[in-house]
């Protein structure tokens, strides 16, 4: 359960970036942080190991504006991608309004993507969410690298639901905001549906 505050007229939406280890979840948030006007964002918090691998999560609050007099804030989280951090990943999904699944386009990471997506399904279910209905955006990251799978193959493997999917190079920012805009839109439209 999350709270819509009629007193301060604001609503916070939680978006979680999910995906296998080293797929670029943290890089997405870092790019958004760098390119967002400081008035519209809070501090980015990264709970990471000394080697800069995500240990628990990254957190970035964005205040993009108002809709019908309500301040709409997006709280972006990443999960730790490494397989053995599953207990932590599960905790971060609590109360998620939408999920961005960041896939690593490299051919040798295809299996890791599929496993991570299946893990997302299981962990969402623990919170009563369904991967087939929750607002979801796919991102095919690392398009600048060699030996990457074609988009059609990635869609066939990961996008059976047919949700919007964006190609991306998070290190240069290409596709990062397209992904964010899409999930934000889906989340807000879901609010509309709930009335």
């Amino acid at each position: 359960m999350s709270f819509i505050n009629y007193s301060s007229r604001e609503i916070n939406c939680k978006i979680v970036y999910y995906g296998p280890g080293l797929c670029g979840k943290t890089t997405n948030l870092q790019y958004i942080y760098q390119k967002t006007n400081p008035d519209n964002r809070g501090k980015m918090i990264s709970l990471a190991t000394e080697t800069e691998r995500t240990l628990f999560f990254d957190f970035l609050p964005l205040a993009l504006g108002t809709i019908r007099g309500f301040k709409v804030r997006f709280h972006l989280y990443t999960v730790p991608g490494q397989v053995f951090y599953d207990a932590s990943r599960k905790l971060i999904l609590r109360g998620a309004d939408g999920v961005v699944f960041v896939a690593d386009s490299q051919v040798d990471r295809l299996e890791a993507n599929v496993e991570s997506l299946e893990n997302l399904r299981v962990n969402l279910a623990e919170h009563g969410f369904d991967l087939d209905t929750i607002p979801l955006t796919l991102q095919f990251n690392k398009r600048d690298l060699g030996d990457i799978a074609p988009v059609e193959e990635l869609n066939g493997l990961l996008n059976t639901r047919g949700v919007p999917a964006f190609t991306c190079t998070a290190t240069t920012g290409e596709g990062v905001f397209d992904t964010l805009k899409d999930i934000a839109k889906q989340v807000v439209l879901e609010l509309k549906k709930k009335g």
Partner: protein, 158 residues
């Protein structure tokens, strides 16, 4: 399933009264009420200079991690977590299934007094949430999101 609750001005007022009263009785510096997903719901006391958004997100994660640890140890939940600093200390306490109280205090009071008072406040706030007083249907009909257009959403990114 509608998993959202609606904080009406009346509820916010009641929450703030509880927090103010607690702060006075416990002689705490600041008290925050945070939902389990990391959203700040209310506060009493001076929080100038504190990044309350980050504080709420980290506190919720802290409690989520404590709970997962408790489950590993065969406990259902650790109801309180104490962080001791040199001069300032934190006591975090769950308030029912949906909320968390975070108390910042110093030498003006003691952990014993904070603990004693926070339990009662947590219980009253938990009852407030569980009584379903948050979801007032009249207020829900005023939802600003029912009439939203794609253009409204696009405007957020301009």
């Amino acid at each position: 399933v509608d998993d959202r609750a609606y904080l009406t001005p009346g509820t916010v007022q009641r929450i703030e009264e509880e927090l103010r009263s607690f702060r006075q009785l416990a002689r705490a510096r600041v008290v925050f009420l945070i939902d389990r997903n990391g959203q700040l719901l209310g506060q009493a006391g001076d929080s100038a200079g504190v990044d309350t958004t980050a504080l709420a997100a980290l506190t919720a994660s802290n409690i989520a991690a404590s709970r997962a640890i408790a489950e590993l140890m065969g406990e259902q939940e650790f109801s309180g977590v104490f962080h001791e600093g040199d001069s300032d200390h934190l006591f975090i306490c769950v308030a029912g299934s949906e909320a968390i109280l975070l108390v910042l205090f110093d030498a003006q009071t003691s952990i014993g007094l904070v603990r004693l008072r926070v339990k009662k406040t947590a219980q009253r706030l938990a009852e407030l949430f569980e009584a379903g007083e948050l979801a007032e249907t009249e207020e829900k009909t005023l939802s600003p999101f029912a009439e939203i257009t794609e253009e409204d959403i696009d405007q957020l990114f301009r």
